[in-house]
């Protein structure tokens, strides 16, 4: 789905180049908006964490475990 989305955006970019200049500006703003939505979704994925707090391999390997 993500690859398809990026393909669609690239195709959109190509189509924009073939438009008259005034239409290009409008469509470029739309393209920016669509990419912005993707970036927002990506950033919120990076942020959306739950708490787990088991021990990772480095500290688990260094300290004695019961």
């Amino acid at each position: 789905m993500k690859d398809q989305e990026e393909e669609d955006l690239k195709r959109f970019e190509e189509i924009i180049k073939s438009l008259p200049e005034e239409e290009q500006q409008v469509m470029e703003r739309e393209l920016k908006r669509r990419r912005g939505v993707t970036v927002r979704a990506m950033i919120s994925q990076v942020m959306a964490r739950n708490n787990s707090h088991n021990i990772g391999p480095t500290l688990g390997g260094k300290f004695e475990k019961k």
Partner: protein, 257 residues
């Protein structure tokens, strides 16, 4: 729903199977097996969310809630609080190790994990993190935010619950309820930032990101602010963390394309 009673009853499930070995709460807590796993792989966030909704003691939220139930049940006179970890002791240990040893990607992943939201309890002014029992050494977090015990856990539960909702208004409503129970935790503030980001309300998102950063600075928060074009966040990131961590977060973010 009475969220406090709901969360308390989840924490109390089979509590009679845990019995104290000492007259003091901390000694008794340390003697118990908290079943803390050593994870070689990043934890599946979806599975973790489901576990947290039933306060399974596989992860820190369930363990801390169970520890609270244990103390309340067996040591009713003990002063008991929920504590949100704002600066993680294990995260600091990892930063020291990363500075001293040759860097591997697994260390960066582990560092990020220790910066994920974390809850412990405070009993008669002493911190208890169930990881202490597993490591055989006390894990003391340099900075914690203390709150009323069951209000704190109920707030965390509501924040997890908000992640299940698909409608942003419903998510925000869950967080408002969490705020009423336990005001201004860093976890709540971060959760708000995430929702506003997904809605495209970047002014509100940035406000909450900055607020969360003041309470509980992490690499992920600094990275998110850097992606928003805030150069101070980028320089602050590089003051604390290795450049390789920035690259790792970039790859993680690009992986969602």
């Amino acid at each position: 729903m009475d969220y406090i009673e709901h969360v308390r009853s989840l924490a109390y499930a089979n509590i009679e199977s845990l019995t104290p070995i000492s007259d003091t709460p901390i000694e008794s807590l340390l003697a118990l097996d908290w079943n803390v796993a050593v994870n070689d792989e990043p934890i599946d966030q979806a599975g973790l969310l489901q576990a947290n909704l039933t306060l399974e003691p596989t992860y820190c939220l369930g363990r801390a809630a169970r520890a609270a139930a244990f103390v309340e049940n067996w040591f009713p006179k003990a002063q008991l609080q929920y504590a949100e970890v704002l600066e993680d002791g294990m995260r600091n240990m990892m930063l020291d190790i990363i500075k001293q040893e040759s860097l591997q990607e697994s260390m960066l992943i582990e560092l990020l994990a220790y910066e994920d939201p974390h809850a412990v309890i405070v009993v008669d002014d002493a911190q208890f993190d169930p990881i202490s029992a597993q490591l055989g050494m006390p894990v003391i977090h340099p900075k914690i935010g203390c709150h009323k015990v069951w209000q704190g856990f109920a707030s965390d539960w509501l924040i997890e619950n908000a992640k299940l909702a698909t409608d942003p208004a419903e998510k925000l409503s869950c967080l408002d309820q969490a705020e009423q129970l336990c005001p201004s935790t860093a976890y709540l503030t971060e959760a708000r930032a995430v929702i506003y980001m997904a809605m495209g309300k970047m002014t509100e998102a940035e406000y909450n990101l900055n607020k969360a950063l003041e309470m509980r600075p992490t690499a992920r928060l600094l990275f998110a602010l850097t992606m928003r074009g805030i150069t101070e966040a980028k320089s602050r990131f590089h003051q604390v963390y290795p450049a390789e961590l920035f690259q790792l977060l970039q790859q993680e973010m690009e992986g969602y394309l």
